[in-house]
Symmetry: C2
Subunit: 418 residues, 2 copies
Amino acid sequence: MSNQHTYRAEKVVQRIEQLATITEERGCVTRRFGTPAFIEGAALVKEWMDQAGLQTKIDSIGNVRGRWQSNHSGAKTLVIASHIDTVVNAGKYDGPLGVIMAIDLIEQIKSKNISLPFSIEIIAFSDEEGVRFHTTFLGSQVITGSFNHEWLQKKDADGISMQEVIEGFGKNGTTLAQDAIPPNEWLGYFEMHIEQGPILYDKNIPVAIVLSIAGQKRIAVTLNGMAGHAGTVPMDKRSDALTAAAECILKIENYAIQQKESLVATVGTLQIPHSAGNVIPGEVHFTIDIRSGDKNFLNEATSSIHSICNEVVTKRNITIQWQLVQETDPVATDKNLKHLLRKAITESDIPVVELVSGAGHDAVPVARIAPIAMMFIRCFKGISHNPLELAAPEDIAQALKVADAFMENLIDHYSSFS
Amino acid sequence: MSNQHTYRAEKVVQRIEQLATITEERGCVTRRFGTPAFIEGAALVKEWMDQAGLQTKIDSIGNVRGRWQSNHSGAKTLVIASHIDTVVNAGKYDGPLGVIMAIDLIEQIKSKNISLPFSIEIIAFSDEEGVRFHTTFLGSQVITGSFNHEWLQKKDADGISMQEVIEGFGKNGTTLAQDAIPPNEWLGYFEMHIEQGPILYDKNIPVAIVLSIAGQKRIAVTLNGMAGHAGTVPMDKRSDALTAAAECILKIENYAIQQKESLVATVGTLQIPHSAGNVIPGEVHFTIDIRSGDKNFLNEATSSIHSICNEVVTKRNITIQWQLVQETDPVATDKNLKHLLRKAITESDIPVVELVSGAGHDAVPVARIAPIAMMFIRCFKGISHNPLELAAPEDIAQALKVADAFMENLIDHYSSFS
């Protein structure tokens, strides 16, 4: 690793640490959309963008935007972005790493005094995690013009509406549409983000190309059997909704393990209403989260898991309600951008790893209107959404080297066209 | 069935209905220990005992007691009892049926003008369910001298202590010891109660002899794995505490089904702290309730279930905490009393069914100091602790006939000794 990249990675880490001190609650990192900590964090990121010589603004949804306008007539815009909101008691790297690396990347290119064949806009999205309003991608949906204005009436846990939150940081819900980048102006989208999974850590490789972002189905299941006295109902007279749920959960796990190359499936929540230690559970609610990078297989797997659950409950004299509560299709990254990123990784002497992202990212809404590319950076043991979340400075340095090469490849590519 | 027993059963049902109208909340039956509804219900039961010509009182713990003193010198006391407190949104029969049938039984014997070789005391226990203070058997523990005076400081959900509740109905915690019936004064104990299970309903038989009351172990289990992102952690890299719990639950069920003649085992509660649909559960809490009429087998089964859980978690790289939080030994009913009850059932032309009670009853603390007998009465589909709880008038009539015969057998038996 060159001294230059090591030095730049150290600066990125310093900024990561500085931003992490801005939090709703001392002792942990929490910056939910629109909170005072969020507003203070956005101001700091804007300051860094100002220092990088970008034309900066905070838009109506709270995105921090820094623009470097190309002199070429009709130049399109490359957006380099990630988010700066966090979950509650978050890590420091999920989101901020991509934003802070992007600023460093631009400072690097600016120092070379080149003529840019496209404009670059760095965006620190204001709400990717969706913790406060149970929405995701608020920032990137404004940028892509897919924001639903009805969401302004949504209320947080304290009864404060999204409209009021936006007014709280001095903006106005009525101007949101003006903040979109029209589809014909996009050159493409590039996001750098920690992997949030263990594959790079296990392979001992610093970065990966994202092939696609997995599609997802979220199902809410309710099983109804017959509650009863734990002491008086013999084992063979029971309709226990929990043992039925347990059999479903095990069979879902087993099915997903069989298909582990292309699928993950998770039962994340389970509730037994009015439960007591001495009562046979009569009703159980649980959720199933199913993800795959392949749309057809996602549909097929969801259907198979539904059949598996139906078989279990029929055998046990239990009724089932199966409700699809959320679904998103898988999103592929752009072939040309991926080619340039793959080239950059090879030029940096790093083995090429290609991953499906199991997590959603701001690239998902962007992919509807523009070509996207994503690079993952290894994180310690795959841990994320946790104070232990960590990207090593050596890996950040490697990632900066790859990103430099990617930007050179892109500039070369589009300069040859102009 | 004789007209006499049918008529008496109708009167019992009328009183059941009348008592059920006295409730904390309109539209359901709820009379927790010491509440205004409880106090009003106790006064009504005392009135019925007065009408039956018994010497009545309400003791320091709120038990309603009606005594018929024998003229024989040194006569011991037969206690016939059940409870009049209820769970929240209870049925009408669990408890009150035994008390109201006992009053009817005594009225019947009194009308025969016989010389009683033992005294009889009917007791309507004030707290069997333990809903308010998370205790059980308060009433019967006072009667048997096993009440722990530290419990007086326990507080209910509203912060009211048991001492204050007792003072609220005009009694005093300091006189509780005086309300015990000394061990040497007991002839025995007889309780009539709905089965609260489906066996008599399935066998189509109105009553059963209780062989024993099952012993019970209550275990609190905590499993710890590793929380993770539901999208990014591959299936073969997970330490999912919920799928581990599911495998434990299924294997516990399977073990109990294999041993169904002598065991029930129930996982009644399960919680996932901080759960979310898109997070792999890192921690799961659940409880296991294990019951058997055979003490050695109960110990053996508990140990087997512990081993089963240990095997599951070891294989899955999950840690387990296993905490025994409650245990009671099985309690056998008295051989002689059981013989007299069996004789009464046969004399009533009813097939003899002998059951282990999976539910606890006031007979449990009494069994430590006196011989006990219990008769179960069939309930509709085994449903209990539920507004649908029902004992059919025909079955109550049959049970009264058996109880008459049992009392005759007892009186004959002890008259021949005196």
